[in-house]
Symmetry: C2
Subunit: 139 residues, 2 copies
DNA sequence: TATTGTTATACTCTATAACTATA
DNA sequence: TATAGTTATAGAGTATAACAATA
């Protein structure tokens, strides 16, 4: 029996977590990617679209579409940056904050379910190991 | 500092390994997905396209395209199953076996590089933990 | 009737290039 | 000249539906 490749395992682990997270967020009308953007924008320091894109490792044109979608749902708002009018400051609306509060609980539960076959120690170790494997975003 | 989400870590770990594996395989004219199919088909038991698709967790229509590509490169060959003519038995050609031999070494090296920031023990533990998180293919 | 392979088609996610406005 | 946001567009990768051949 040939052991499964690391690439297969990572891909399918990712698929499973995406599925669990997506199902957990469905009642709130957002998916895992939108949750990630919303959670990132819930930050004390004002964040431009480009800042957010770099932090999440996605293209700035992709970020345009994601902010569009969140704005249509009244979860974030764009306003011009006071000091540099090329930039948009993007921030959660009141509704965005509320949604984020409940969505965080749902995503935490989804992660917990995903990790439920592991001991607490192994779950923590998985996270630590992945942290070491994935370099922090540049900039 | 908000800690990075498990979904982010898994996605970007996957991206990094895909990149390393792709670069390692480029000299042999295949990518990581084609390698996975080729390695799976290098099996003592004859395997149909549907068998292979189920094992890799991809759609059977996707498998058609992958086998097409590998056949164009003279790395696999289709022949009718002797006992059930609805099925194709797909098997590596001589050239496929040779390519697989060198490609395996390249992929092993890419995985090693991917894991190079970890101790041997942590690398092994990562693999074990992922094995437990990813259910074996049904069927 | 059900299964295997195939084709046509469409959808999602993403990136590249070019444009606008600001700096 | 360079940067932030936007638009148009195209490329992967994937899946669904319908068909042909076979069971």
């Amino acid at each position: 029996m040939s052991r499964r490749r690391l690439g297969y395992l990572l891909k399918h682990a990712n698929l499973r977590l995406t599925e669990l997270t997506g199902a957990a967020l469905e009642p709130y009308g957002i998916d895992g990617r939108e949750f990630a953007v919303l959670a990132l924008l819930d930050s004390p320091a004002p964040m431009s679209q480009l800042d957010a894109a770099r932090r999440l490792g996605i293209d700035r044109t992709t970020m345009v579409a994601m902010v569009d979608a969140l704005e249509r749902k009244d979860l974030v708002r764009r306003r011009p940056h006071p000091d540099d009018r090329r930039k948009n400051v993007v921030e959660p609306t009141e509704r965005g904050h509320e949604t984020l509060g409940v969505a965080r609980i749902a995503v935490d539960a989804a992660e917990e379910e995903f990790l439920s076959s592991l001991s607490g120690g192994d779950a923590g170790l998985l996270r630590d190991v992945l942290e070491r494997l994935v370099p922090p975003p540049a900039g």
